[in-house]
Structure formats: C-alpha cells, structure tokens
Amino acid sequence: MTQLIQNLVDSLGLGGTYALLALGISLIFGVMHLVNFAHGELITVGAYTAYFLFSTVGGSWWWMPVAIIASCVLASVLTERIAFRWVRTANPFTMLLTSFALERLSHALWQIGVSPKAKAFPKVSWAFDTYQFGDVRIEKMDLVTIFVTALALVVTALVFKRTLFGIAVRGAAEDFDAARLMGVKANRVILGAFAYAGLLAGVAAVLILMRTPSAKPDMGSAWLLAAVIAAVIGGMGSFTGAVAGGVALGMLQTFLQSYLPEGTLSYLNDAFVFGVIAVFFVIRPQGLFDVTHAERV
C-alpha cells in the first residue's frame, strides 16, 4: 500500500510534466499539422538560461522560474517566425524535417557555444525535503510538481474554453480555412499557439530543472520523445488526450520501474514501456480519444 501511494505520487509528477509537454505538441499539431520535434529543445533553452543567469548575474530560485518560462515562450515564438512560418504551406514532410533540423541545430549550438558536458547550477535547497504521512514519505518537490501541473492544466482548460484566443485555436484546429473565413488571422493564431506551447514547456522546464539543476546540449530529446508518445497515445490534436496520455505514460514508466525485479530487467524498463505502447497501438491505433478532424481540409 505504501509503495502504491508512493508510485502514484511519483507517476502523477512525472506524468504531469509529460502532459504539459504533450499539450504543447498537440496544440501545434492542431493548428498547423506539424509534429514539432524541436519542442523538447525549449527545455534546453530554459536550462541554459538558468545556467547563464546563475553564473553571470547570480540568481535566485525565487525569480528564476519567470526567466525560464520567458525564455521558453520567446524561443518558441522565434522558431515560428524564423523557421516554421516559411514552410507552413509546404507539405507536412518539409515541416517535419524543418523541426528535426531545428532540434539538431540546437544541440550543435550548445555543444559548440558552451560545452558538450553538462553544466550544473545551484539547486533548490528544499526540493528533496520530505513530508511524512504515516509510512509514506513525499518529497516537497513532488507536491510542488503536482500542484503546479494541476494549476497549469486548469488554467489551460479555462483559456481554451472561455477566451476568444482559445476558441479561435480550437476552431482553427478543426478547420483552418473556415477559421480564416471568419476573420481569424492565420499568422496570429499560429503565433499564439506557439507562445502558449512555449509557456507550457516553460512550466515543465521549471519543474524539471528544480529537480535536476543542470544544462546539457541534448537534454531535451528524451523529454521530447516521451511527450510525442504521450500526445500520440492520447490521440494527436486532442487536449484531454494529451493530458491523459501524459499521465498514462508517467504511470506506466513509474510502475514498471517499481515492480520489475531488481537487476537486468529494470535496465530494460524503457523496452517494456515501448513494448506496452506498441501493443496498445495494435489494439487501438487511433489513441485513447477519437480525433475526427485529423486532416486539414
């Protein structure tokens, strides 16, 4: 029982972070049918922003989250303006290659410009302090992660349900040309989607970096892979799906890690995770949620 609760807390934290990233990927996919493989690089941008600020002007974790989130929003918006806007009308494969190119470019720039090695920066002093609830010990950081993620998801739900921007994004995701005919400006709604995806990635980056305060050129790739899988599990383009997919993936990883026997098998955790996902897609190729408007007309 103790183990179960511990695992649930762990998987909610991890899955929540996946969900934030998967939402961004799903959002961009919705408005422009691009699986943005450069999305994970936003975490890297956030990490180096923190590293530079800590090592130059000094810094404090009181305001560092704001700087990290701002850098992610800015980077996300810049990729749209500099790269994706010019290939928007090209075929989807061109867009996909553009996002791969951005990912590799980002790796190379950090390697050449900073260092191929990981650069550490100060950690959050209280992150791994624990609270004791009966037999269960929960890290402060776990609670912060779950609370912040939940808050971000609620705010996101409200934004997409209540604001004109949110309604426009949902409409554009369903039928982009119809939205243009209503007066939605294509550039603006796509730029807005990139900004919001950057914001969510920024929140994820803060949660990740508070746990592991270091920057490495290729650190975004593992998160990207998990986020894309989560988005696909949920049904690409579905907002609820991205969240459900993220949490499902987090649970799968945490529980397998916990219940696989010590030793060789636990090293194969990822292999088991991908095996389960492969079987899931054989049974349900469309993902958890049906997305009826997957093709842009």
């Binding site: 004109l164 309604i167 426009a168 949902r170 409409g171 369903e174 039928d175 040309d177 119809a178 939205a179 243009r180 005919l181 209503m182 007066g183 939605v184 400006k185 294509a186 009826t292 408007h293 007309v297």
Partner: protein, 235 residues
Amino acid sequence: MLELADVTTRYGAVTALDAVSIHVDEGELVALVGPNGAGKTTLLNTVAGLLTPATGTISFSGERINGTEPATLVRRGLALVPEHRRIFKDLTVEENLKLAGVTVARRLRRERVDEVGSLFAVLRAKWNTNAGFLSGGEAQQLAVARALMCNPKLLLLDEPTLGLAPTLVDAIFELLVTLRSQGRTVLVVEQNAHRALEIADRGYVLRSGRLVAEGLGSDLAGDPQLFEAFLGGGL
C-alpha cells in the same frame, strides 16, 4: 461592388476558371449556376481569398483584392458561407458565433452574438449544443449566422441548400430574399438552378470554367434551351 475582370484560377496545371468576368452591383441578388465541376466554388473561393487568381483582376468596393487574406476581406465586409457549411463541429453554437465575432470590437461582440442569434430561433434553442449535433438545416442556418457576425456588405453563399429537405430549401431561399431586402448584396452559387434564378436579379451560367450565359434571373429561368444545353435539362 464586386467586379471580376478576366479572372483565371488554376490548380497546378488545371485551369478551373478561365478568363471569367462578372459583376455584382450594390443591393443585388445574383445567382451563379452551372453543372458540377463548372468552377463555381473556385470562383467564390478566389473572391474570398482562399485562392489567388493566376491572371485578371478582382475588385471589391473599387479596390483590387487579388490574393488578399480572407481575414482582411472579412474586415472589409466580404463574407463567404463555404461549401459544405464547414461549421466548427467541436464548438458549441455560441462558440461558433463568438469565433466569427473575432472581427467585431470586443465591447460590441457580446451584443452582436445575441443579435445574430436572435435572428435564428432554432439556434437559440441549441445555444450550448456542440454544432456537430445540429441537423442539416440548423447547421446551414448557423453557417449563415456565422457569416452575418461581421455584418457583411457582400455575402457569398456556396450551395446553401445542398442536402437539405425540401421545406428547408424553401426556408433558405426565403432567407436569401430577406437578406437582400435588408440591403445586403448577395452572390449565391446554387445547384437548384431554376429556383435560384427565379429569385435572383441577375444570373450567370458557368460551364467548364467559362461563362456561357448571363442575363436577368427571370429571363434565364424561363429559357428551356439554356437548361437543355448547360444545366442537364429538366426544369
């Protein structure tokens, strides 16, 4: 109000619209008819900015609008009710109208949504229903209501009666006449060629991308040879 001069539109190597010249004057209801594949939808989409003409000039209120973003045209008062309606099925009726109110100043938007909503009683009844659950007739009314949100001077409608039951077809034709009587200019593409021409001030017949006939709506509607030759016979 709207003038097309020798407008040609191509999809790659295929010419869908071949040097077509038409005009729609203020306050007119004009019908554009022709068999399937004649280029009617291409013409409307070219005017609305979804397609850019290869050659020729389109002008709206005296300004050249070739290749102008649809979002800009809507703000100038040109709205298209697209083929197959293309309402947002995952949004509620109210959200569909709100989204279409993106061109309306923030403080007037709420009011305009109510105003347009009140013109269509059936929509009022399904205000918070996802538009995907609407019947064909309701969906068509929503599509028209959505286009009215920007208070257009010129309204383009693409096959508004497609797939509707006969009584609803009547209602849509009545709606077109009402729109004209409210002072709006209307260009409608219709498969119900005869009925559309009957209520229209003027009509154009398009076939294989070319203009083959034009005239007063009533004259065209009363021309059996025209129907025999271009519109698949039968009145």
